[in-house]
């Protein structure tokens, strides 16, 4: 019962905030809606016994990534209303998307594995999805991908800095160029 209650609360918040992301005319409102979506998803993660991921989601996404986005929005002073575009190509896109959702739901119900009934939900011990359990595997089995993620972040930092850096005026790297 308690689980269902939390699910519906978070699911509805996530849905309406998700609509807010897409439908808000002001980018700042979109960003704040996205923060709400992320917090709801973190709540759903908690309901699914993934507490490590839930808090990482809050700390990394809402605490850093979204703050960065919000920062850029206000830095660029983008709080002007932007009309949403309903030109033909985009209408097609929307139609295709609606079809996708419909097909997805039909698929879901037609799937013999799911349609027959809910998959069972085994009771899990306390350390399921806990920081310790996940961290141990992250640093042993998945060590190489964690290292790779480090390389990726390094590349991203270098890339972001060189792209966002102001082009140097009067740069004299090559005389006579």
């Amino acid at each position: 019962m308690v689980g269902a209650f939390f699910f519906w609360i978070f699911a509805f918040t996530a849905f309406f905030a998700g609509v807010g992301v897409v439908a808000s005319r002001n980018p700042m409102h979109s960003a704040i809606s996205l923060v709400a979506v992320l917090i709801s998803i973190a709540g759903l993660f908690l309901a699914l016994h993934a507490e490590f991921l839930a808090w990482i989601l809050v700390i990394v996404y809402t605490g850093a990534v979204m703050v960065l986005i919000v920062f850029v929005i206000s830095l660029l002073n983008l709080d002007k209303d932007e009309p949403i575009d309903y030109t033909a190509a985009r209408r097609w896109g929307m139609a295709a998307l609606t079809m996708f959702i419909a097909a997805f739901l039909v698929y879901l119900y037609a799937d013999p594995l799911i349609g027959a009934g809910h998959p069972a939900k085994p009771p899990v011990p306390d350390d399921w999805g806990s920081v310790q359990t996940v961290a141990i595997d992250l640093f042993t089995r998945y060590m190489i991908v964690v290292q790779l993620a480090g390389v990726l972040l390094t590349a991203a930092v270098i890339g972001a800095v060189v792209v966002a850096r102001k082009p140097e005026q009067n740069e004299e790297r090559e005389p006579g160029a």
Binding site: D111, M143, A149, V151, I158, V163
Partner: protein
Amino acid sequence: MQIQVPEISLWQVLPELIVLATAVGVLASDLFVKSVQRVNVTLTATLGLLIAFFTARSLEASATPIFAGMVVRDSLSILLDQIFLAGAMLVTWIGHEYARRNPRQFPEFTALVLFATIGMMVIAMSADLIPLFVGIELLSLPLFVLAGSDKDRLASGEASLKYFLLGAFSTGFLVYGIAFIFGVTRTTNLTVIGQSLAAHAEATPLLVLGFALLLVGLGFKISLAPFHMWAPDVYQGAPTPATAWIATGSKIAGFVALMRVFTLPDVSFAALSDYWTPGIWWLALITMIIGNAGALMQSDLKRMLAYSSIAHGGYLAMAFTSGTRIGAEATLFYMAAYLLMTVGAFGVAIAASRSGQECEKIADLSGLARQRPWLAFAMSIFMLSLAGMPGTAGFVGKLWLFGAAVQAQYYSLALIGVLTTLLSFYYYLRVIVYMYVHEPDDRLLFNRYSFSNGLALTVCAVGLVGLGVFPNLLWSTIRLCTGAV
């Protein structure tokens, strides 16, 4: 609590580590050595890539996955490592000249090329969807930046934005596809997925959805039609060396990812080939037609090459659809040939600049043969090879590609392939006509091209002709690869 650390076999990933060290070394060398010409950067990169190349050659292949099943150092990955490293070297060389002329382009260019190369090498050796995904991103992020590296041109910034937004969009599909595949099989390990799918070869709707989304995600990366619309804009807007690496490295790596996920027998989705081949069949068909038709109408050289690259993606996908061993071999061979001819073509586009003016239109090549005969000759080889003229690697590759399609009884696909190839002669030959027949339309002379660029072009041209005449040089290695996997 007892924590078991899996075996750490760093020497197995030594080429990747060397490239990483080189990337850091390149950044450092630019920091500490103030060289106007940036020779030090190119030299560092070349040295590092050469060492990595020979390290990769000397590695011993083994089909047993390492690092707890995350990556595998089989002969396929070793071969592809060499292809990527060679490609990165060529791109560094042609990029050297571009950077010399456009001093506003930042020196981190080479380092980012190297980071992207690491991503490609990771894709080539992944035995699991997680490193595959991280590899794809490690490949994409530096390329997004490279596309925007020329701050003097508005087009570069726009290309970068378009590439980024579509790349991120496709990542969304890719991740969602992986999510469904994980949901059904409860693992991301390709070997385990292959085994469990082979055990009960039944495609549940969720699995099909997973395939489809994965295919869409990868389709964006390798610009298969109808997911190709970003390619012409990005290729045109990005600085030419970046374009060269986007067009070759990224596309080849995307196909390698497809290969790792879809076709390798016993380890991936090969058991369910009935479900995904029709999808790729149609994509290949549309891609060949759209790519070639689009290229016909272009007057911009890079845009033309972009459509041509889309078309070649179609040819590769065609062989890929067959899912046979000869198909895989043909794909690998054509990848190598495609790398040489495309990097070469972009290299000529860089070299054939006039003072203060980059070569953009095809017409800008007018009269190249008279002033820079070697450039024009090399470009002719690249164009003829792209078109599939006998005597070049392009011809041999295409022959095998079509052979694979015919062998798999995809007659209509092969027929379309041959027809569009014939069509493609028109636009490739047009370039040659401009170079040899047309007079230069103004008095501006072509710039002298640098040693590094000349070297790159020579390597490409010699390689193409060499592989065209003695295809066995590469073919035997490739057979070893597909035999081993």
